[in-house]
Symmetry: C2
Subunit: 243 residues, 2 copies
Amino acid sequence: MGEASRKKARRRPGTARGAARAAGEARPRKPKGAAARTRGLPRDGGLRRDLIDAALELVEASGTRGLGWREIARRAGVSHSAAYRHFENKEALLAAVAEEGFHRLTERMVEQVAEARDDVASRFEGMAVAYVEFAAESPARFRVMFGRDIPDINKHPALREAHDFTDGLFRAGVAQVLENVGKGGMTVDIDAFTLMAWSLVHGLASLIVDGRVGDVSEAAVDPGDRVRAMTDLIKTFAQRPRA
Amino acid sequence: MGEASRKKARRRPGTARGAARAAGEARPRKPKGAAARTRGLPRDGGLRRDLIDAALELVEASGTRGLGWREIARRAGVSHSAAYRHFENKEALLAAVAEEGFHRLTERMVEQVAEARDDVASRFEGMAVAYVEFAAESPARFRVMFGRDIPDINKHPALREAHDFTDGLFRAGVAQVLENVGKGGMTVDIDAFTLMAWSLVHGLASLIVDGRVGDVSEAAVDPGDRVRAMTDLIKTFAQRPRA
DNA sequence: TCGATTCTGTTGACACTGTCAACAGGGCAT
DNA sequence: ATGCCCTGTTGACAGTGTCAACAGAATCGA
């Protein structure tokens, strides 16, 4: 393994493209006209959708490790590398998967809040239940959303937006809780409080996703029940008699 | 992509080995004598160690995604596939990396506890600080330890043991806290309480590792300070005047 | 209406990966 | 001394992500 200078320095015959290109949407040619949306073959509604759906299925089934363009393309009924007309690279596809994940998570949080009793504690509990249940049901997707398959979320504006929306929803809920519970002349840093709440919820979700809870015996405890057990615990301490 | 039956069904000419083999240590030949430790070339102390060290460096530097046998082997001064005399496969190598991670984490927790003031709250805070600081300093290693690069920890007994030891340490600390704080006739489920504490700590660590906290302005808050801010917050609520 | 342009998909290639079989030499026990 | 086993090398194979070159179809500008 000594001998420097092997058979490197091939490739890149003509142009010098491919070197610097944003990880954005698809391969650009020329922005020019603004109406470049419904060109080319109709293809029943867009290959892009099909590719995302196929990727979603595969990610759910076997995680992000065994996810390959060839299999995705096969499921979508096209040849490999067709996907490169719709996604810059694999990371861009995963960003789309993550984006859909945040949309779904937001939906679930809104649902749970709507179903909750009309007090801030119940509403927050609803969001936490939605968060953890979502993670438990779609662990691989959850990992794509929060893991390092997408090293820099800022390179994917749509994903960034979806993330921020979910984030804002959660923060608003936490702020309400704090407002409601924080009487009594205490001054608490809202950011620190939010981070604590998020850590609690995200931590439980992560531990479930990574298979760290429920090793033996009790088999499968409902994730929602775990969250409720936690909030009950907090209430117990909040209402405990003074020492 | 049509035409079934391509040029498959090659390989596997002679023996039928490689089919069923545990994901344990290295390629077994015959356990036989118990003294098979210092055979072959001396190689300054074992290639296995060098491989783990090289893998550690690379994992820290660029995560588990760009981790390749060839580069690892090059750093260790051997040829690719030499590693297969010491590790069943890549997962086994990662398991070794994770195992070392748990050992290191345990060390740090013990250190912090030793340095802490002599009350249970401080000792627990010390463990939490160790946990989160470790994650922040070695995010890639933390991910290997808790992520899904190793799908089933039970296939790696040494890793399982290291994990369980750390886990036990943490649980013992939480149990002490509960014992100390749980006066007042309340009955709390110790498992639920432990899970809550672990979720809080692990959640903060995960959020930091995945770059979810500290997006703007405040740049780099010390992870230990974040933990202390959290425990202070909890104390504030624990000691708040009754409503 | 018609040619030019631009999308979108296919084909085939390249560099690179994990893993394995076949081989080779050194150290150990017999 | 002999033979076995350990540990390393070499070279291969199947499979990966990505790209260049090509080809048909839909649209736009004239």
